[in-house]
Amino acid sequence: ELKVEQNPLFLSMQEGKNYTIYCNYSTTSDRLYWYRQDPGKSLESLFVLLSNGAVKQEGRLMASLDTKARLSTLHITAAVHDLSATYFCAVAATSGTYKYIFGTGTRLKVLA
């Protein structure tokens, strides 16, 4: 059974600092998504990663995927307050299926 773990669960950081959120998954998969959820709101897709070594960047966020290590990272560069949210990774349960298992989420708070 696929398990998806994120760490840290909570992250409080100062504006301008860099940090990385990690997403580990237990079995092979052919795609991984990162989502953002603002308090009281629904989820918004950020990135999809499909292949080993894939890297996607949008603004201050950069996501990467290492399928051999079954690890994805979401790197935050020079954090700003607007990035405060909960970030989830989601992994397709098995290749070719469309059942997704979500990580527990990382609640990020960027302090001004």
Binding site: Y33, L43, L50, Y98, G103, G105
Partner: protein
């Protein structure tokens, strides 16, 4: 265009009552998902519909939970004899026909917050 909509946005019910939650997916999205999100936790997969294929019901937690979908449009999630542990936000998402990412990017609705007293 219009996004995924869900109704009601909030539902308070008494233990033992039945509830029905509705999801209207984005037009043209043949895939539809239901998730449950308990307070402060991640998303728990419940059920997945794709076109006329048999739904993947593997995430439904008990036989009190069921879901239907009319063609490729509206879906309803029904919880019978609600229990307090059913209290959560129920999220619906839809996507284009599966055929590889990013086509299957899921677009989420605002959710229905269910409170069982």
């Amino acid at each position: 265009g219009a996004g995924v909509s869900q109704s009601p946005s909030n539902k308070v019910t008494e233990k033992g009552k039945d509830v029905e939650l509705r999801c209207d997916p984005i037009s043209g999205h043949t895939a539809l998902y239901w998730y449950r999100q308990r307070l402060g936790q991640g998303l728990e997969f419940l059920i997945y519909f794709q076109g006329n294929s048999a739904p993947d019901k593997s995430g439904l937690p008990s036989d009190r939970f069921s879901a239907e979908r009319t063609g490729e449009s509206v879906s309803t999630l029904t919880i019978q004899r609600t229990q307090q542990e059913d209290s959560a936000v129920y999220l619906c998402a839809s996507s284009l026909p599966p055929g590889g990412a990013p086509r299957d990017t899921q677009y989420f609705g605002p959710g229905t917050r269910l409170t069982v007293l």
